[in-house]
């Protein structure tokens, strides 16, 4: 029984839909052997955390919502034919994809080409295992959640790589190399930004609840979101994660207008569908992770006592996901050299600087408060860090040669046709 409690006490919180599962498991444990109940618990966790919380929101907010919102941004309607408001569009898409002809090029490495999408999907599901949907409702409450997240999120790039490599297509190879190069470049500042979060909270557990340390619990304790305390880390996280997810403006790996969808060029039918669907899955996972780490997770300044916590986290996730949609709808794509330069010369030094600042502050904090609970210093640091972040971003950009005022954005106007008009000297100098 005590062992069963280990599994089940994640699930007792009333607002977490937890008591239902608790009751079910408790009753089941009386009649069934332990290992069966264990597997049923895992299945229920999967059903709850992925099939209830994630998949519907992925289908209807991710697939449909993204298409709708981008459609609105582009002054068109978006899907509106299948079902009311096009609600059934994702399902129609899925049915269409499943029965589509699945082409396999003659030159392709068939086994690898089939394995790649499957391997691509699995980590997306696994990522949600550590996302806390409430104080106690987290699928696997492991103490190294952040490292788990980093480790698992590094896997899909391999799948994309071998998928692109497998069909012996030049565009795909371009895409594969680009996606790996870009992902590994952006992984470094991403990890460093998360490291600064770990540094300040002192724990690698994502969730936590009263009595157990965790990043969400830390944010609850100090009544502040880490986005205020570490704006720079948040920004770096955002850039890096959108690069790793291949979202515009960093979608060079599947750049439609350059290398014709890159590593996806030869994929069709359900295999392509898995890549496409799970792209959104990863975006949602990244958004959920970001909301947990930087936006307070399932906590809401005390409101979580009244609102179901999973509602809060899903709302925050989709809020964050909306930013992805927004950038995708509005921004052009960067070039690979610019992206690499951005990662290594801009984000990496900034994240190191951020780490340094946080480390210094943490020591000062520990000395100043002597280990006592103190909100005052947190707010001071939040203010300081916001100022420092803005300053650091601008100063470092300047140091790297960013001169916004040096680029005229309007053409010159002349009134007579008279051959070459030389650029006036000062403006030529600035440029």
């Amino acid at each position: 029984m005590s062992l069963l409690m280990l599994i089940t006490d994640n699930w007792y919180d009333i607002r977490d839909l937890g008591n239902v599962s608790h009751e079910i498991l408790y009753q089941l444990d009386r009649v069934l052997p332990y290992s069966l109940v264990y597997i049923i618990a895992a299945l229920m966790g999967f059903v709850a955390s992925f099939l209830i919380f994630v998949l519907p929101s992925q289908l209807f907010v991710g697939v449909l919502g993204e298409r709708k919102i981008i459609g609105r941004m582009q002054s068109r309607y978006g899907p509106n034919r299948v079902g009311k408001f096009g609600l059934l569009q994702p399902i129609a898409d899925a049915i269409k994809l499943i029965q589509k002809e699945a082409l396999t090029p003659k030159a392709a490495d068939k086994a690898v080409m089939y394995i790649a999408p499957i391997v691509f999907v699995a980590p997306a599901v696994l990522l949600f295992a550590v996302v806390p949907f409430g104080g106690h409702s987290v699928f696997a409450d492991i103490p190294v959640s952040i490292v788990y997240f980093i480790a698992i999120s590094g896997l899909p790039v391999l799948a994309a790589f071998i998928g692109g490599w497998s069909h012996a297509n030049k565009y795909s190879l371009f895409g594969s190399m680009r996606i790996v190069a870009m992902t590994i470049s952006y992984e470094v500042p991403l990890v460093l930004s998360l490291l600064s979060v770990v540094l300040i909270t002192g724990t690698m557990r994502l969730g936590g609840h009263d009595g157990i340390d965790g990043i969400v619990q830390w944010q609850r304790d100090y009544h502040i979101w880490l986005i205020f305390l570490q704006p720079l880390a948040f920004l770096i996280y955002f850039f890096c994660v959108s690069a790793e997810l291949n979202r515009t403006p960093t979608d060079i790996a599947e750049a439609e207008s350059e290398i014709v969808a890159g590593y996806l060029t030869e994929y069709s039918g359900m295999k392509w569908g898995l890549f496409y669907g799970m792209d959104i899955g990863y975006a949602l996972a990244a958004a959920a992770f970001a909301s947990t780490v930087f936006l307070g997770g399932w906590s809401m300044f005390g409101l979580d006592r009244w609102i179901p916590s999973w509602l809060i986290i899903i709302a925050k996730t989709h809020l964050f996901y909306f930013i992805f949609i927004w950038t995708r709808g509005t921004l052009p794509r960067l070039r690979i050299d610019q992206l690499m330069t951005f990662a290594w010369k801009f984000l990496l030094p900034l994240s190191l600087a951020n780490l340094l600042v946080i480390a210094t502050e943490k020591v000062i904090w520990n000395k100043a408060t002597d280990g006592n609970f103190d909100n005052f210093w947190v707010y001071i640091f939040a203010a300081v860090n916001i100022l420092l972040s803005v300053a650091a971003v601008f100063i470092w950009a300047r140091l790297l040669g960013y001169r916004p005022e040096a680029t005229p954005k309007r053409p010159r106007l002349v009134n007579t046709a008279s051959g070459y008009v030389p650029i006036p000297a000062p403006s030529r100098e600035v440029r």
């Binding site: 264990y38 895992a42 999967f46 499943i98 029965q99 589509k100 002809e101 699945a102 082409l103 090029p105 003659k106 030159a107 089939y114 499957i118 699995a122 980590p123 997306a124 696994l126 295992a129 699928f139 696997a140 409450d141 492991i142 952040i146 490292v147 980093i150 012996a168 297509n169 030049k170 565009y171 190879l173 190399m177 790996v180 190069a181 590994i184 992984e187 470094v188 990890v191 490291l195 770990v198 540094l199 002192g202 724990t203 030869e266 359900m270 569908g273 898995l274 690979i336 050299d337 690499m340 330069t341 290594w344 010369k345 190191l352 780490l355 340094l356 210094t360 020591v363 520990n366 000395k367």
Partner: protein, 124 residues
């Protein structure tokens, strides 16, 4: 403790079954002839190159810059094995911990400075 990981293990199996199911369903539909069995046109199984035959080998030598990037990445990735434990116990260490960490990162930064200096970060 281990139970949580066990659940993750079960989730691995589930998450592999999940896409496998999609692919298998697609395959099953082909079996019942909902979906065409063989591609209707031999050109469809050609490798795509904007509607032309592929010229020359597809797997060609790539830019060595990719390798530099991978090297730098390995460097920083290994670094995090050291830095996460450092960050966890940072509270208890005070200034010595600060200097140990800064020294560690500082030496790594020498590496990246070297790479920067040698132009390994330029993407030509």
């Amino acid at each position: 403790m281990l139970h949580d990981y066990g659940q993750i293990g079960i989730l691995v199996i589930i998450s592999l079954i999940f896409p496998l199911g999609a692919v298998v369903t697609s395959w099953a539909l082909r079996m019942v002839n909902v979906r065409p069995d063989v591609p209707s046109n031999p050109v469809m199984t050609d490798t795509y190159e904007c509607g032309l035959r592929t010229e020359g080998p597809s797997l060609v030598q790539f830019n060595f810059r990719f390798y530099y990037i991978a090297l730098l990445f390995v460097l920083f990735d290994v670094e995090l094995v050291f830095l996460f434990p450092w960050a966890i116990i940072y509270d208890t260490m005070g200034w010595p911990g600060f200097f140990e960490g800064v020294g560690f990162i500082g030496i790594l930064c020498l590496g990246i400075l070297y790479a920067w200096r040698k132009g390994a970060l330029e993407w030509r």
